[in-house]
Structures are given as C-alpha cells and as structure tokens.
C-alpha cells in the first residue's frame, strides 16, 4: 500500500520534475542579485506569448508570419547581472550554464571574444533535424553575466522569413545544412 502511494506521488510529481532539455537552468544566478548594480530577470512563458500573438492579425502577411513563429515558442527566459567591481561572480557560475549547453543536442554556433570590452558572447542551438528546439546565449565579461534562453521548437525557415522585417536585420541566413526533408 505504502509503495503504491509512493509510486502514485512520484507519478503525479513527474511533470514537475520533467524539464524541457532546451530550457536552461539559471536559478543559481539569483544569488548574485543582491550584490549587483543591475539585475534583470525575465520569464515569458507560453501563455504570455500566446497572448501577444493574439494582437497579431492573421490576414496581414507580415503579422501572420511572426504569429506563426510565436505560436511555436514555448518561452523566453533571461537572467542578467552587472556589477560595479570585477570578480563578483565565479567561473563556476558561468560553467554551470555552459555545462548545460555542452550536453548532447546543443551545438555552439557563435563564439565572440572582444578584446576591447573583454566581453565573451557564445550562442548555442539545440536542434532536432529540421527544427530548432532551443537557443541559448551566454554573455559574460569581467563585471557582467547574462543568459538568454529561447525555448522552441522554432522553424529556421520561418525565422529566416522574418529577417529584414520588423526591424530585424537582414541576415541572409543559410539553413541549408539543416534543411527540411523534402
């Protein structure tokens, strides 16, 4: 009886623990908030994105395109801190994020290291054949740490249709390497 009860509890709790692999855990950064001069914590989940999509009209081609993309997005999450002094966060804080982004499924597509501001920007994608399941951006400098996570699925072709519109720069994105099976 007791075993059944435990199993039932675990079964009910399972969805709580089931984590979308494209969702980056960054809660540990919250402990840095009290010392930081600037903090940002954004949690836009699916319900709010759906809400935003309601304001876009399907009959307008431009808005319909972005609505289509939004309807696929599961969430946008940002956590960022900026300090007045250096060494307020440890390499472990960065590593705990990077470790998740180096697990199977994720691939690093951009890595920029700026000598000017000492800022490092890394962009990671998690993709499953023809769909992007998640985007992770890790920005860190001596006094700054920020993580941006977009949870998909996102269709690269649909995203590329948005390039050059809505103020998004024209990127000439080439997704031939992960194109859909025709």
């Amino acid at each position: 009886m007791k075993l059944k009860l435990i199993l039932l509890t675990l079964l009910i709790a399972a969805p709580v623990f089931a984590q979308d692999p494209a969702r980056i855990q960054m809660d540990h950064l919250e402990r840095l908030f009290p010392k930081a001069v600037e903090t940002i914590d954004v949690n836009v989940d699916q319900s709010l994105i759906r809400l935003a999509a309601k304001f876009l009209k399907t009959e307008k081609q431009d808005e319909a395109a972005i609505r289509e993309v939004l309807n696929m997005v599961q969430g946008v999450y940002v956590k960022g801190v900026e300090f007045e002094q250096e060494n307020e966060f440890s390499s472990d804080d960065v590593q705990r994020v990077r470790a998740q982004l180096t697990t199977p499924g994720w691939s690093r597509i951009v890595g920029v290291r700026s000598k000017h501001g000492g800022e490092n920007v890394e962009v990671f994608l998690m993709h499953d054949s023809d769909l992007i399941k998640g985007i992770g951006v890790l920005i860190h400098a001596a006094k700054k740490l920020m993580v941006v996570n977009v949870v998909g699925p996102l269709d690269p072709e649909k995203i590329s249709q948005l390039s050059g519109r809505f103020g998004i720069p024209k990127l000439d994105l080439d997704f031939s390497g992960m194109s859909k099976t025709k």
Binding site: V37, T39, L51, F55, L56, I66, R165, F166
Partner: protein, 555 residues
C-alpha cells in the same frame, strides 16, 4: 477530567491557527500596498478622481480593461535598507503562484547611487488577464494592477471604439508591440556603437508628426553684440567667407583659397573654438593663466592660439528644463534646481530659460535680471508633452551659435529620454547628429540627470509596448548619451536622483563655468575629409591638466 473531544478541539485549533497567516498572503495589490505602508512607514498619495475613473472603466470597459487599482507613494523613503524582507519575497507572497500569478519581469538598478526596482507579475484567469506592476525608486513607489480581456483589447486595437464612438485611428498600426509589426520584434534593442560606448537607435528622418517649429529664440530683443568693433573683427569665424576681389597674397597658410568664375576669391578659414578648464595637481582650478601657458595639439600638430579670453569673461548660459511626461514626478525638484542656478548666477553672466517637450519654449531670453528669470519659472505650469530632446538641444545650439561672444554653456535638466528611444518616433536630428554638432560648436554642456521610472511605461510594456524592459534599456542608453554629450563638450554630468545629490551642483556648475578659458586657433592642415581630429590641450605648469572637448570633424 479529560474531555473526549480534546483531540478534535486541538486538531481544529491547529488547522485554524495558520489560517490568518495564509489569508494574509495572496491578496495581491492589497498585500503589496500594505507591505509598502508598513515596511517603509509610507502613506499613499491621493490620486484625484481615481474612484470615478475606476467606476467608469468597470462600466464602459474601454479597450477590454475591466478594472484597475493604483496606489502611488511620493516623496517618501523607499530605500532597500529599510526592507525587513527582500521586496521580491513580499511580491511573491502577495502574488502567489497557487493563485496563478507568475513573475514576468524583475529588475533592479543600483547604479549611480539610485535604487530602482521593478516587478511585473502576470496571471491568466479564464478569458481575462491580470497584470501587476510595482515600481520602487528612492523617493517614489507605485503599485498598479489591471484586469483586461486580451480578445477585447485586440478588437479595440483593430477598431478603436469606446461606447460606439470611433477614435478614428488604427491604434494597432501605431502600437509598437514587442512582437507587432513595426516594433522591435527581435526583442533586442537595435543600436549601433557610437564612439565606442554609446548605443544609439537608428531612426528615419522625421516624416510623421513633426515637432512644432520653435516659437522664439533665446536671443534678447536688443542687439546682443556688446563687443567693440576691434573685438568683433577678431571674432573667431567658423564658416567660409567670400571676399570679393581680395588680394591673393594676403591669404595665409591657415586659409584655403580658390578663384571662382565670377572673379571673386573664396577664402575658407577654419577657427576652432575651445572652452578649456585648467586645474592644478590637487584638482583646483587655475584662474590666472595666459595664452602662452597653453599648448594646443590638433591631430598631432602644434597650433598657435589666435584668440584668448580669460576666465573672468561673462558666460551665456541656457538652462533647459525637460517638462515631458517622463520627468513629471521630478517637476518640483527640477524647478527648485533651476531657481538655485539663477541664484548662483554671477552678476555679469546672462541666462536664458527654455522649457521643452515636443516643443521648444523660451521662458526667458538671455538676461542678467534674476527676478525676471525666476518669474519665468512660473510659466512652466501646464506645460506637458512628449520629449524631443535631441531637436531641442539642436535648437539651443542654433541659438547660442548666433551669439558673437565665446563662453557659452547649456545646463539641461533631463532624463535624456528622447521619444525616439522609446517608440522609434522619428526625429529631425538623431543623437549622432547632435554629438557631431556638439563637437563643432564651442558650447559646454552640463546635463543634470533626473531619472524617473515611468510606471505607465512599464505597464505599456506588459501590454505589448516597446521591448525596452520597463525602460531600463532606454534609461541606460539615455544616460550614456548624456555622458557622451558632456564628455564631448568638456562638461560634466551631475546626478540629481535626490535633492541631496543636487546640493552643491549649482555652485559647482557656476564655478566650472568661471574656470573656463576661451581659446581659438586655425588648424594648419585641414583636409575637409570629414575625419575626426583629436584635440589635446596642455598647461605649462607642473602637475597641471587641461580639459576640453575631445575633437571635431574636419568637414
């Protein structure tokens, strides 16, 4: 004797004891307001007609809004030092997840001694949505909770009507939704680096609603030139002159001559004017220097000083007041600050007072009459509107450019948030234009930085306004732009987050203005290729330093 019901009574008592504690939480707006009142010993500011407005909103439901609650606290101490528990915890206890509330945005800025905190919570309730926004600054706080129907709001944006009366405009088109067409759909601030540090937003030249043309200039009705003829002849000239039938041999090395078809000679002389502050090793101003005490290097070439004015020469100062909505809560300290600037004005200096929103209004022309200047501050009442900060600054540069005298300065009391930063409103002049202009004019700019987090802006973001995350990005950009403008012109930015921070600022700027020398020189090797030429001014005294603008564009 032991009661047989003792166990049951204890059980019921145990169940009831935590009840008040549980009920004390999760009441959202009420709990947050109560927390602010208790934790900061604060009292709500009365908002006139709020009850009536709420009543009508509940009946009419404009734009799908079904109700709202607002509590505003002003001129009280909300510093985090007074927090018995972190405010974030108080928010989460008030807006509990079990009731469907989710934290959407949480921001905190302690930069420059300020303490600005923003919390936005979000809840879906069947077909309705509730958004709660709480903002706390050092001296102000606001709590807003709004319930609306997203479907009805979408319909309203498509066809704006209230009680069947059409508002006649497709608001949806103009609405810069975070995801909507025309907005910043990427969710990332678009910008480009300017001088390595300033993010600026590219924008189209003004096409839509134009800023109303300036009404008047700051120039007095009487002729402004008070210098004698010799002085006027020696005045630095920044623009090309055409001299008919001039003797070509008279053209100096510092001039560029060409003979045109009408047999006139175009002599192009460039004189670069500088306001220079000199300090000793301890940072004290050096006020007894002569021309020979200075060295001027222009793009690695040593230049000869052609014109010089000592620190005692009068100053023409324009005090500009940003009376836009974003500084509304700072109106009182702003007027107080302007008044103190008038008090600190030395007798020989002249001051003009300008108020700007989307319009540039001269409240007082250049004068030394302190009574008239103070009286002009009374005229700010009722002035309110958007912010054409760049265009207004441009107009002030135009006005000062017409003055023959050197030693010109602008003190601008603002948050620096041009409308174009928030909603991509087109401007006649971009910040890049303004910065370049500042590098060419001999006007020193002292921004007095008033920052006020706009609750309505935060709320508009939550409803799909601009993706500037509660104005933090806008504020950061604006602040950097003010810093860049001050640095470019040899001025200094002064924080005015609180009245305490303003203390001494008036005398400081007045002292600064009277520690400025005016130098002018004709650069030797002008190329007119638009390149940036660095200027370096030195002082021939041990440990002394000079501060001036960084350079100019060689056009």
């Amino acid at each position: 004797m032991r009661s047989p019901y003792r166990f049951h009574v204890m059980l019921i008592a145990l169940l009831l004891i935590p009840t008040p504690l549980v009920l004390a939480r999760g009441k959202g707006f009420k709990d947050v307001v109560k927390h602010i009142e208790k934790n900061y010993q604060a009292k709500k500011t009365r908002v006139p007609m709020l009850g009536v407005a709420n009543f009508f909103v509940k009946i009419i439901r404009p734009a799908g809004v079904k109700g709202f609650k607002v509590a505003v606290f002003q001129d009280q101490d909300f510093s985090p030092a007074k927090d018995a528990i972190p405010f974030q915890t108080a928010m989460r206890e008030a807006y509990v997840e079990s009731k469907g509330w989710k934290p959407l945005v949480q921001m905190n800025s302690k930069r420059d001694g300020a303490n600005n905190r923003v919390f936005i919570m979000f809840k879906e309730n069947k077909k309705d949505v509730e958004v709660a926004v709480t903002t706390l600054e050092d001296r102000e706080a606001a709590v807003i909770e709004v319930k609306f129907s997203p479907d009805k709001m979408a319909q309203f944006l498509d066809n704006p009507k209230i009680m069947g009366i059409s508002l006649g405009k497709d608001i949806g088109k103009g609405n810069q939704s975070i995801f909507a067409a025309g907005g910043n759909a990427s969710g990332v601030m678009t910008g480009n680096s300017n001088n390595g540090s300033v993010a600026s937003v590219s924008r189209p030249k003004r096409e839509a609603e134009p800023v109303a043309p300036p009404e008047v200039t700051i120039l007095p009705d009487v002729p402004v030139a008070t210098e004698n003829v010799a002085a006027v002849a020696a005045r630095p000239v920044l623009k090309p002159r055409v001299v008919e039938n001039a003797d070509v041999n008279a053209v100096t090395d510092a001039t560029k001559a060409e003979v045109n078809e009408s047999n006139s000679i175009r002599i192009e002389t460039r004189l670069v004017n500088l306001n220079v502050k000199a300090v000793n090793e301890q940072g004290q101003p050096l006020n007894d220097l002569k021309p020979e005490d200075f060295t001027v290097i222009d793009d690695e070439t040593k230049e000869e000083i052609a014109h010089f004015k000592p620190v005692t020469a009068p100053v023409n100062l324009v005090v500009m007041l940003d009376l836009s909505g974003s500084t509304k809560n700072k109106r009182k300290p702003m007027i107080e600050a302007a008044s103190r600037f008038i008090d600190a004005l030395p007798a020989n200096d002249r001051m003009a007072v300008v108020a700007f929103t989307r319009r540039y209004r001269v409240l007082s022309k250049l004068t030394s009459d302190k009574t008239a200047l103070k009286a002009s501050l009374e005229r700010v009442k009722g002035i309110e509107g958007g912010t054409a900060y760049y265009d207004s600054m441009w107009k002030a540069f135009d006005d000062l450019g017409q003055l023959a005298e050197a030693r010109k300065a602008i003190v601008v009391l603002t948050d620096g948030e041009d409308e174009s930063l928030m909603n991509s409103s087109p401007t006649t002049h971009s910040f890049d234009d303004l910065l370049q202009r500042a590098s060419e004019d001999d006007v020193t700019v002292y921004p007095i930085y008033f920052k006020s987090v706009s609750v309505t802006r935060n709320l508009s973001w939550a409803f799909g306004g601009t993706m500037n995350l509660g104005g933090a990005s806008t504020a950061t950009t604006a602040r950097k732009q003010l810093e860049a403008l001050a640095e470019q012109t040899g001025g200094e930015i002064i924080n005015a987050q609180s009245l305490e921070m303003l203390a001494g600022a008036y005398d400081k700027v007045a002292r600064e203005l009277h520690s400025l020398y005016s130098l002018a020189y004709s650069p030797d090797r002008v190329k007119h290729d638009g390149s940036f030429r660095k200027i370096s001014v030195g002082v021939k005294r041990a440990g002394a330093k000079a501060k001036t603008r960084k350079g100019y564009f060689d056009k």
